[in-house]
Symmetry: C2
Subunit: 227 residues, 2 copies
């Protein structure tokens, strides 16, 4: 039988972007006792790792920073010889060049292992389908199917994947975050490897557009010092 | 459309034990062009990694040696303060102390990522249920369910998990291996961290018993030098 503290234990996949950070604040507002996993998969935008760690520390959340070798994957997020795409539309359905083969699957596998080991019953992930409907591992049917598979393969059969942002647009995610006090200046979205957001890659563009729609400047861009 | 060489590409999970090594020889005998993944998850019996690499090199198979951090798991294979069990029966159904939370799930996630990236259509794994029916991630229903989940979450939907040993006993696996010329002296099964097999842990006992049933001495024990 679970005790009360166990019922509220949860694992969160934290990338340092605004989706996972908003998810963290949402889960925290619901009283979850969180443990974060942050993944270094040699992504071009390793800068997000600093932001993820800062957000975790700021919220007093213990985290595991894991090094993941997916060097075989042909993705513009890991292969520096490829271009980061800058012209994707929100409605595009094909798998983008930034797709890292089985990345979310690998991440979730670690998350289930951690959750089972610390007796957490929820795994929060900030996936959503609006901006990147082309990612097969961000779709609700994937999460449903994957959860069933985990239950077949694990000792405990009651760990649940929670995707509170799955149907939200980027604008709605930011609105949710603003209501929860998310410090967006400490979230990182740019896919390029620079010191400052490039403001041109798809990830920058979707983010900038969403802040614009809300009639505000992205706090990350407004903050001249960054971290 | 796949070309002929792609159809025969496959990934194999190679532990250095006799099950995965026999699986490798089986796949090779069927004409598969193999790429191996070997996992260092800080297991007590890291010696198996040397054996896995030796088997891969001996067969001219390229391999990835990946470091996996599952340090949170409470397993006697990774936690040196726990005892390695020595009294399990083949028919025991409960999850053993050697269970590493989601280990096969993490391994398979990497394997699917690699397979998709190199355009391999099969993933061979030497899992079987006879000796360790208590492992939830070795059961056929897990592999079926997991394959479906991968197809939901990946770009390519045609990668198949192959478990040629799933219903075989240890004795039958060894017989299969003997017919294929598996050099069993270069396979490692002992769960303890010693220089030589302890001959007492469950893994040693099941292996020794199987060779005894075949009226032969384990070539590993017969080889005084080891590798």
């Amino acid at each position: 039988m679970n005790n009360i503290s166990d019922i509220k234990k949860a694992v969160i996949l934290l990338s340092g972007g605004l989706d996972s950070t908003t998810t963290l604040y949402l889960a925290k507002s619901q009283g979850y006792d969180l443990r974060a996993i942050i993944f270094n998969y040699n992504q071009r935008h390793k800068r997000e790792l600093e932001y993820a760690q800062k957000i975790a520390a700021h919220n007093g959340i213990a985290y595991h920073l894991l090094n993941i070798d997916l060097s075989w994957t042909k993705s513009s997020l890991t292969d520096r010889t490829m271009q980061v795409p800058c012209n994707r539309n929100v409605s595009d359905k094909e798998v983008p060049l930034t797709y890292v083969s089985a990345r979310n699957i690998v991440f979730l596998s670690y998350a289930f292992s951690l959750a089972e080991s610390i007796n957490a019953k929820k795994i929060f992930i900030g996936a959503h389908i609006q901006d990147y409907s082309g990612y097969p591992d961000c779709r609700p049917e994937f999460f449903d199917s994957f959860q069933k598979a985990f239950h077949a393969g694990m000792k405990y059969k009651d760990i649940e994947i929670v995707t509170p942002l799955i149907d939200k647009s980027k604008k709605e995610i930011i609105e949710t975050g603003l209501n929860l006090g998310v410090p967006f200046q400490y979230t990182w979205s740019c896919y390029q490897g620079g010191e400052f957001p490039c403001e041109q890659c798809d990830s920058c563009r979707f983010r900038m557009k969403a802040f614009e729609e809300l009639g505000m400047k992205d706090p990350l861009l407004a903050d001249s010092k960054l971290i």
